[in-house]
């Protein structure tokens, strides 16, 4: 039963794709389009929650498309990490879509051109992101990246205004370059190993020369690092994201960089496990945190400020994954889920602030807490969450990383611990500045001339205007996301356990490889794969991988000679007994 349900995994990609096709077909009829888009995403959410429930206890599962066996055909693999990412991303995209629908309905002006493009493109973006999460081979990962990037180019330049075109060009060029780097890395990896299947690569890359491994490893990391906006490669992000419409920026900020992080995590665990470049990664992580947050402090525009905090918090994720310990990785997984939610929420709230007050420039804001307490609450919770104030989920994730860093107890991890605490404080400062300026002070005290929309005669007037500026159809999805971010705190226990199991799976690698090669071995490749399967079994039973929770994990599954030698020895002994 479990397997049967899990074989519907490709539908997570196909439903949004078909939705996009139908939405395109009904481009004249906006309400049909809207219904199709929302329906497709609701279906996706239901499907993915079911998949997560199946994977929660069952572990990894692979679907071999068109029945081709593992290293030759296209594989889609769903394991705990992928399932969690899928669920979080689809809930986020659904909420953002509802918000966008609300915004479209609230803006009375008929603007049919871009809107008829918006829904299908948005669904294609969702399909691409799902495809990247589920990809079982490098090239499919590349295709997933291209699908959602191309959709994102269209969404970013929606309407074709001057500032968007300007920002779009930077974004498109940088993304294309990173894709080219990725493609070069794929070509080189194929030349070196003769395969692009991730599970197959996990077995074969270890046999390569150490220097060759390092080149391939770093090339992949650079390509993914551009997409994930890791410090020296993050210059494009604050330039391009803030110009897009609020819901688009929200979903970009929440999701797209995290797909890059997802790919980096896969590279670090599945393809190139070990600690060779961890120090370099940690230095990069520290710089990303500090430079990002310093950039945020220099900004007056809330959207740009948030873009910089986004970069800064990518640093936390890199720190967590560079620890190479189960506890660090578990915290990273939890933090990714938390950060997707929180960053999206903050951008949506910024969209609301912009609607209510006419600007997102804090120098011209004021008095919002009095005018609209709901807006204040919606901003305050995710903002404190972003800064990592204790009861919220940001704190729990950061705590896990700090624990991991302290447990490792080297000079670099202590530096990182210090840097992340500092970044956390600076983040608090950045959001507190927005809070005091935008929400607490009187509009008359604004540094520059305040917006007219904020200067109502009486409070009653202002409150009455709230209904017009902040329709329920936009506030409700935002509130739902805030509730979801709170749920991360409430269910932190089970989620942390789940993340830990996911991290353990990823470091052991056995569940992943077994899912891809194991149960569905077909006749053609049986002999070749039996060796692999034998090594899995031995490792699986001894269960040595990740035994000590705090210790850095040695990879338990390398196709080296040791494992191959153990097997003959045992058979020799049994022969002697006879």
């Amino acid at each position: 039963m479990v397997t049967e349900l899990l074989s519907f995994t490709p539908l997570a990609v196909l439903i949004p794709f078909f939705g996009a096709a139908f939405a395109f077909a009904f481009y004249r009829n906006k309400s049909t389009q809207r219904a199709i888009a929302i329906g497709a995403l609701i279906l996706t959410v239901i499907l993915e929650v079911t998949l997560l429930a199946q994977v929660w206890y069952g572990g990894a599962h692979a679907v071999h498309l068109a029945g081709w066996p593992a290293p030759f055909g296209i594989v889609m693999v769903i394991d705990r990490f992928a399932a969690l990412m899928l669920v979080v991303s689809s809930i986020i995209t659904l909420c953002v879509l509802l918000y966008a629908v609300g915004q479209g309905a609230a803006e009375e002006k008929e603007d049919s051109g871009p809107v008829s493009i918006f829904y299908p493109t948005y669904l294609i973006l969702v399909a691409g992101v799902s495809n990247a999460f589920l990809a079982g081979d490098l090239f499919n990962l590349y295709v997933g990246f291209e699908i959602f990037l191309t959709a994102s180019y269209v969404l970013l330049t929606l309407g074709g205004g001057e500032s968007r075109i300007r920002a779009g060009v930077t974004y498109v060029v940088v993304s294309i370059i990173s894709s080219m780097l990725f493609l070069i890395a794929i070509g080189m990896i194929y030349a070196a190993t003769g395969t692009v299947n991730l599970a197959d690569l996990a077995l074969k890359l270890g046999d390569l020369d150490l220097s060759t491994q390092l080149i391939l490893h770093v090339m992949l990391l650079v390509a993914f690092g551009i997409k994930a906006a890791v410090f020296p490669l993050a210059f494009w992000l604050p330039d391009s994201y803030p110009t897009a419409p609020a819901p688009v920026t929200a979903v970009f900020a929440g999701l797209l960089t995290k797909v890059g992080i997802y790919a980096i995590i896969r590279t670090e665990t599945l393809l190139f496990p070990g600690e060779r470049i961890n120090t370099a990664l940690m230095i990069v992580a520290a710089l990303t945190m500090i430079v990002g947050i310093l950039g945020a402090l220099a900004q007056a525009d809330i959207k740009r400020m948030l873009s910089f905090t986004l970069i800064s918090h990518i640093g936390y994720l890199v720190f967590g994954l560079a620890l190479s310990s189960i506890i660090g990785m578990a915290a990273t997984i939890y933090y990714v889920a938390h950060h997707i939610t929180i960053q999206t929420t903050l951008f949506l709230v910024t969209g609301l602030i912009e609607r209510r007050s006419g600007t997102s420039n804090v120098l011209r804001l004021g008095g919002l807490a009095k005018i609209s307490p709901v807006l204040g609450l919606l901003f305050f919770i995710p903002a404190m969450n972003l800064a990592g104030i204790p009861p919220f989920s940001g704190f729990i994730g950061k705590l896990g990383m700090l624990q991991g860093g302290i447990a490792e107890n080297t000079w670099i991890t202590w530096t990182l611990v210090f840097a992340s605490v500092l970044t956390s404080l600076l983040t608090l400062m950045a959001v507190a500045r927005i809070w005091t300026r935008g929400f607490w002070r009187k509009p008359e005290d604004a540094d520059e001339a305040p917006e007219r929309q904020l200067m109502s005669k009486t409070l009653a007037h202002a409150r009455a205007a709230n209904k017009r500026y902040l329709p329920m159809s936009m506030v409700a999805p935002t509130a739902a996301l805030v509730a979801m971010s709170l749920a991360f705190t409430v269910f932190a226990g089970p989620l942390m356990d789940f993340s830990r199991a996911a991290a353990q799976d990823m470091y052991e690698r056995t569940p992943y490889l077994e899912a891809v090669f194991g149960p569905e071995r077909s006749e053609g490749v049986r002999e070749e794969l039996e060796d692999f399967a034998a090594t899995f079994l031995i490792d699986y039973e001894t269960g040595d991988g990740g035994a000590a929770e705090h210790a850095p994990v040695e990879t338990s599954l390398q196709p080296d000679d040791e494992a191959a030698e153990v097997v003959p020895e045992i058979t020799d002994e049994s022969d002697d007994h006879r």
Binding site: T150, T157, G161, R166, V196, R364
Partner: protein, 174 residues
């Protein structure tokens, strides 16, 4: 693995020229650079198949090593299609940018300039050059360009678009 030297040199040349073009500020040249680089990457993928061989149609009498590895070509085809789509999209963007601003060069970001002016790193003279007319076709299509430019600009500013908020606000200040 055997590699065709001619293709290898060609690939290197394409990469070199492509990267050089990419460093230019003119968008058309950047686009040309992207086209060259994507072709160089395609050549790289092609070469991962190794020496040329027979078409991979199964025949029991032919030993396995005589076949050509077909996978890189499959990857290559996908990559070509994707690169084609991206290049056409880039062309559309460049055209749009030219219609709107009659500018083929990448403009500086307004916010960046503002932040830079705080720090005193803003050089008005150096920056002014970006404002210049840069396209060679300005004279021929001036009338057309203006006609397309003006109504569209008006429409953009009227649109109740939160995304353009800061930009419009800045324009208003000046």
């Amino acid at each position: 693995m055997t590699i065709n030297l001619t293709l290898l040199i060609l690939m290197g040349a394409l990469f070199a020229i492509g990267i050089y073009l990419l460093l230019e500020r003119s968008l058309t040249r950047v686009l040309l650079g992207i086209i060259l680089i994507s072709n160089a990457v395609n050549l790289l993928l092609l070469q991962t198949a190794g020496r040329a061989g027979l078409a991979p149609l199964y025949d029991p009498e032919i030993p396995a090593e005589d076949y050509l590895d077909p996978l890189p070509q499959a990857l290559l085809l996908t990559a070509i299609v994707i690169a084609f789509a991206l290049v056409s999209f880039m062309l559309a963007l460049i055209y749009r940018s030219w219609v709107l601003a009659r500018q083929d060069e990448l403009a500086d970001d307004e916010e960046d300039r503002r932040v830079a002016s705080y720090a005193g790193a803003y050089d008005a003279e150096e920056d002014a050059s970006a404002e210049d007319e840069t396209t060679e076709f300005a004279d021929e299509t001036d009338a057309v360009g203006r006609a397309m430019l003006n109504p569209r600009r008006g429409a953009d500013e009227d649109a109740p678009d939160p995304g353009n908020g800061p930009a419009i606000a800045e324009q208003g200040e000046r």
